[in-house]
Amino acid sequence: MEGAGGKPIDVVRACKDTAVTALIAFGLFLPLIGFNTVLNIHNELILQTRWPLLAILVGVIAAGRFVYSVLIAPWLQDSNVWSRPEVSIAGGRLTKWLLPFILGFAVLYPALALWLAGFQGAVKWIDNFGVQILIYVMLGWGLNIVVGLAGLLDLGYVAFYAVGAYSYALLATTFDLSFWILLPVAGCLAAFWGVLLGFPVLRLRGDYLAIVTLAFGEIIRLVLINWVAVTNGYAGIASIPRPTFFGIPFNATDEGFAARFGLEFSPIYRTIFLYYLILALALVAAAITVRLRRLPLGRAWEALREDEIACRSLGINTTNTKLTAFAMGAMFAGFAGSFFAARQGFISPESFTFMESAVIVAIVVLGGMGSLIGVAIAAVIMIGGTEIMRELDFLKIVFGADFDPTQYRMLLFGFAMVLIMIWKPRGLIASREPSLLLGESPARPAHELAKAMQAAVVESKARA
């Protein structure tokens, strides 16, 4: 018997593996599945046995192991999926190729949703998916500056998001200022808080910094809960003014957007407007990041991530460099926060829990530290994935009416993270684009080199 790679498959060993696996499964499942305690009508505990179920489970596991040892393991070994070195240039080329597609899709997405789901259905797809994902893309890109570029692990990033959201909500409800004035104000306030937190904290490194930022995030949340006079505590702030189309409100009145443009009133116009607004904000954040990376400041951030002591030995003021990274990241969170408040019309401390920080950090880490496209893809997977769980109603047919797929959200979340960390330990896009190329090396360009290496591998395999 021959395997895929031409190596004979060791059936005896596979059988042995199967037997051992079945035995372990039996030992584990005997107490877990084999016995079951139930209360009868006399309120007595009765021991039930479930031998058929136990047999089925052990059988399934044994069969799975057999298939793995005979087919999957040799294939894995042969194709070297797990130990494949990451060719960095291939990643870079992929990004370049993907970029116009992703941008085009993002711009055309509302039209696509309208076309596929109609006027009624599209609101959900544009708002729950489009806007929600883009908020996290923006937050991811903001945190990417702090974690991905400057290498400062910030676990309290949601605090700046909260500062942005509450700045807009409070200033808009109290002083009746417009969204377009308050957007930069919220960003500046968040940046100011970033610097304020930064000063005492930035002499810390690594784990210590993470703990203190985590604490800062909680402090902000607790202040929001307990400073009832200003923030209205748990009850939150309601009826926050929604953003207007440069002065024209989205409502059913004669002055509203629909009436002015001669359209029939529908909430979809506001949703579409919000979508393009957050898309524009996110793209501005991306453009600023790309620009800064090529400037001395951006290079200093990356150098800081690589080696802080070396930075200091080269005369770089590391405190200022870290503060600028913190302020810049916090500012983007402030923009996203004020957008969030304007979109929801209602905010409360519930929206700014540690879980949010964790999700944003996960997006940055999964995406690949420093890669904008990687972070965007990770945001689509993580946020889109959790949203799509709500749509999987057909699973109720399989698992019964009580089954609620959203409850398995975290399970799938964790599973996806483990898989990605095994498959791509440095994130989805691990390659780093140099900020500047001399472009003088007489050697072949790296992607040609990679191609040549691949050709050599194929050749050697063909010979064997």
């Binding site: 600023i288 620009r291 800064l292 400037l295 001395p296 400041l297 290079r299 200093a300 990356e302 150098a303 991530r305 690589e306 080696d307 002591i309 070396a310 930075c311 200091r312 030995s313 080269l314 005369g315 770089i316 003021n317 590391t318 600028t324 780093r432 140099p434 900020s435 500047l436 190329l437 001399l438 472009g439 003088e440 090396s441 007489p442 050697a443």
Partner: protein, 321 residues
């Protein structure tokens, strides 16, 4: 370490400094430097001076306190006691030193000549203002960044000013683009000198060990230093590479206005390239002189070989034969 190390190198012409340099003014003066870590005295009342244009070597057995002295000079440690003064430009400014010490400020002088008290400055200002650059015993490059980027980060302060602290640069104005082009040219010059021009766009961490050492020195030189401090530059190099390193350091000394202070364990390198040697043992200076003088100093031989005082004459005669 053995007496054979001292013997192996014949007293070459290189070992004796050129006569005019013998009277050159000091670039660095360390006075009564003491560094205590809790109860441990790592450096005890150390005084020495490094002359301008010299390659000064700081040698001594393991644990003698050499790296501690380096860390004090480059601002990574704050010394417990003592004064570390660095001067560039017109040496007249040395006369200011006592007044500067009493005044309690960091620097004195004007465009003609500047004097700095390094123990009063944080580490990044020692490089930025007093123009002292350093390398590390275990190489500290930015491994994920390209070779070229490593050299550009070293020119951070100049580029930061040119980019108007990011504002002008972010707008993409011409003045910044010119400054960046000049920085790249400067980096290219150094890459040519260390023979790494063809690896400019590769990650620095992928270079072979010897090339990483050369790159680290080039990176330090890109900060345009007055004093270059090298912590064991020949560690881990093969004999051919350390011979090259010697030539490279001589080239730096002769072509740039940079004096060199180095720590080294490889005696053949030290004896061949340095103009002036300071020997430390247990945090104290035990000898100070030219390689010739050090080679025959009985105290130095005793420190390295660990022999009792009575046995020097034998060891000394062995070394001098």
């Amino acid at each position: 370490m053995s007496a054979a190390v001292f013997e192996s190198e014949p007293a070459g012409a290189q070992a004796t400094p050129k006569p005019e340099r013998r009277n050159a003014p000091a670039v660095l003066r360390v006075d009564h430097l003491t560094m205590r870590f809790g109860g441990l005295v790592a450096v005890k009342d150390l005084s020495f001076a490094a002359r301008r244009g010299d390659i000064t070597a700081l040698i001594g057995p393991n644990g003698a306190g050499k790296t501690t002295v380096f860390n004090c000079i480059t601002g990574f440690y704050k010394p417990s006691e003592g004064r570390i003064a660095l001067q560039f430009g017109d040496p007249e400014v040395w006369s200011e030193i006592e007044r500067l010490t009493e005044r309690g400020t960091r620097s004195a002088g004007d465009q003609k000549g500047m004097l700095f008290l390094l123990e009063r400055m944080p580490d990044y200002l020692v490089t930025q203002k007093a123009r002292v650059a350093r390398t590390f015993q275990n190489i500290r490059l930015f491994p994920g960044m390209t070779v070229l980027e490593n050299l550009l980060v070293a020119q951070h302060n100049a580029l930061m000013r040119a980019s108007g602290f990011t504002v002008i640069g972010a707008l993409g104005l011409r003045s910044y683009r010119q400054a960046e082009r000049a920085a790249v040219e400067h980096a290219r010059d150094w890459l040519e000198q260390i023979g790494l021009l063809d690896r400019a766009d590769d990650p620095a961490g992928e270079l072979p060990y010897g090339a990483q050492r050369r790159l680290e020195i080039a990176r330090a030189m890109c900060t345009n230093p007055i004093l270059l401090c090298l912590d064991e530059p020949a560690a881990g190099l093969n004999p051919h590479e350390s011979a090259e390193l010697g030539n490279y350091l001589h080239a730096i000394r002769d072509e740039h206005a940079t004096s060199i202070l180095l720590i080294e364990h490889d005696m053949s390198v030290v004896m061949r390239i340095s103009d002036h040697i300071v020997v430390l043992d247990h945090g104290e200076r035990i000898a100070d002189g030219t390689p010739q003088e050090i080679r025959h100093d009985p105290k130095v031989i005793a420190a390295y070989l660990g022999v009792e005082e009575e046995h020097f004459s034998q060891a000394g005669s062995g070394a001098s034969s």
